[in-house]
């Protein structure tokens, strides 16, 4: 490995953290749905991709300015989440987990194919008001896009924390995820809670999409790539744990950047999956283990 200057180090770190935040946000979607329904939604990344395309269409075709694009994208995606839950997921409640897994993988394929049909497979660019020259601090140059990613992730996570911890509905969501039967018996409308969880997780995917779009080019396969890394993030963090998802995401983001710098080429990408394997060998319960054994 070459000598690494402070400037490069900081730059890699910030890039790693910002990519990590993105993986973490998508992973949050995985974990929210997993906790509420014990289903793993493999289409989470592709849902994010749809968010990016919807934002792109609103901005380029309809010429909306940035703020309305953000609000509308999140709203549209939240409604999309509700629709998915209602039409595809709810009928699957009680089916074997494997069937649900196949369904969400299939859903991912469909979303990708339909996106390709509508928007084509060439890469699109999405500009934001903050897509300007990078911020130069001495020898460090930082993209505003990356700083915005980190900032938004922090705000979103704080918001989510406050919602889940202090609001009546948020605590009810936690209760329903911890013990569905007991939640129903105290009068929590469990089906409604599940629907809102889907809504929330697709809305978070929309936020991730709005953040990823200015960083990378948009194409139908983007969700698959990000989705798989987010899945790794969720496992590394300890599936079923919200803060774990974010920490896992940041870990793999940083590892990816530094390995990519040290060995060049595709090693950065590969390192993510090596990390996954190591993690599964050494600490399969994840960084932040949920201290609960399933009752038989």
């Amino acid at each position: 490995m070459d000598f690494i200057s402070l400037g490069t180090f900081v730059q890699l770190l910030v890039t790693g953290i910002s990519h990590g935040c993105l993986y973490g946000l998508v992973a949050l979607g995985f974990v929210l749905i997993y906790k509420a329904t014990e289903m793993v939604n493999f289409a989470q990344g592709d849902i994010m991709m749809w968010g990016a395309f919807i934002a792109f269409t609103l901005a380029s075709t309809y010429g909306l300015s940035y703020i309305p694009v953000v609000i509308l994208t999140i709203f549209v995606m939240a409604m999309f989440g509700l629709l998915l839950e209602r039409t595809i997921i709810r009928p699957m409640i009680g089916e074997p987990p494997f069937a649900v897994l196949m369904l969400t993988i299939g859903l991912g394929f469909v979303l990708r194919a339909v996106a390709g049909m509508i928007w084509g497979h060439d890469e699109k660019e999405f500009d934001t008001p903050y897509s300007v020259d990078p911020l130069i601090l001495g020898e460090v140059s930082l993209d505003y896009e990356q700083l915005v990613v980190v900032g938004c992730t922090i705000v979103l996570c704080l918001g989510l924390y406050v919602f889940l911890r202090f609001t009546r509905f948020g605590v009810a969501m936690q209760a329903a995820s911890q013990n569905q039967l007991a939640a129903a018996y105290v009068g929590i409308p469990v089906k409604g809670v599940v629907a809102i969880t889907w809504c929330l997780s697709t809305a978070i995917a929309a936020v991730a999409a709005l953040l990823v779009a200015p960083l990378q080019l948009i194409y139908p396969g983007i969700g698959f790539v990000v989705g798989i890394k987010a899945f790794v993030a969720a496992i590394v963090g300890g599936f079923g744990n919200l803060s774990g998802a974010l920490i896992g995401g940041i870990c793999i983001g940083i590892v990816e950047q530094f390995v990519g710098y040290a060995f060049e080429g595709a090693y950065g990408e590969t390192s993510v999956y090596v990390l996954l394997l190591l993690m599964l060998f050494v600490r399969p319960q994840g960084l932040i283990a949920t201290i609960q054994r399933k009752k038989v």
């Binding site: 009546r168 009810a172 013990n179 039967l181 007991a182 105290v186 009068g187 089906k191």
Partner: protein, 252 residues
Amino acid sequence: MLEVRNVESYYGPIMAIRGVSIDVEEGSIVTLLGANGAGKTTVLKTISGALEPQKGSVSFEGQDVTAKEPDIIARRGVAHVPEGREVFPFLSTEENLRMGAYTQRSTGLTDDLETVYGYFPQLHEHRKLAAGFLSGGQQQMLAIGRALMLRPKVMLLDEPSLGLSPRLVHEIAEIVVRLNEERGVTVLLVEQNAKMALGIARYGYIMESGRVVMEDSTERLAQSTDVQEFYLGMKAGGVRGRRRWKKRKTWR
């Protein structure tokens, strides 16, 4: 107040209850006794809406509630305390109780909390602790307390004595009687501990393989030779204790 009529429920292809009818009068304590697998829990699940009956009906306060969603039935004032103290393990004791009041609009929430802490001082002691760390007895108290937060008209108690020490069983039994007398909560109590259940209930049903085989006032149930033999463990007749393992149960 609560009427169950000819209910048949299935777990997949397996018929768990085969035409059960039960009446619970307002203000009473009614018990449902039976061995493992007799279908007692299934009856409760059918009442509270967790299971949909194939046949028959459940009505509460004169209104049909057959196969309604559990949260709707809970909203009507039916509090189900499930078997095995299903608390929310990662929420604190107090949050668990507050969740019990989910159907209530915030008025009087603090008073209700005080009431529950009055009945269960131990819960007040551990109100900040995650419910998963409570002992078995405390979790059972929490489950009952949480149901109480719903301001229930009827409480369905599923084996509250399960896995508790005799002293705790006694304590829980006392509290059930107090809830019934002081707060007018009607109770449908499912139990394996027949001695405790017959002691506090006024009327009782005995179930065996999915059917009600006997129903009567608890005094008369306690006199029945079958109940004495199979539920209260008394031996029939003389010093030599002739066991009747060859004789059939007649449920008379």
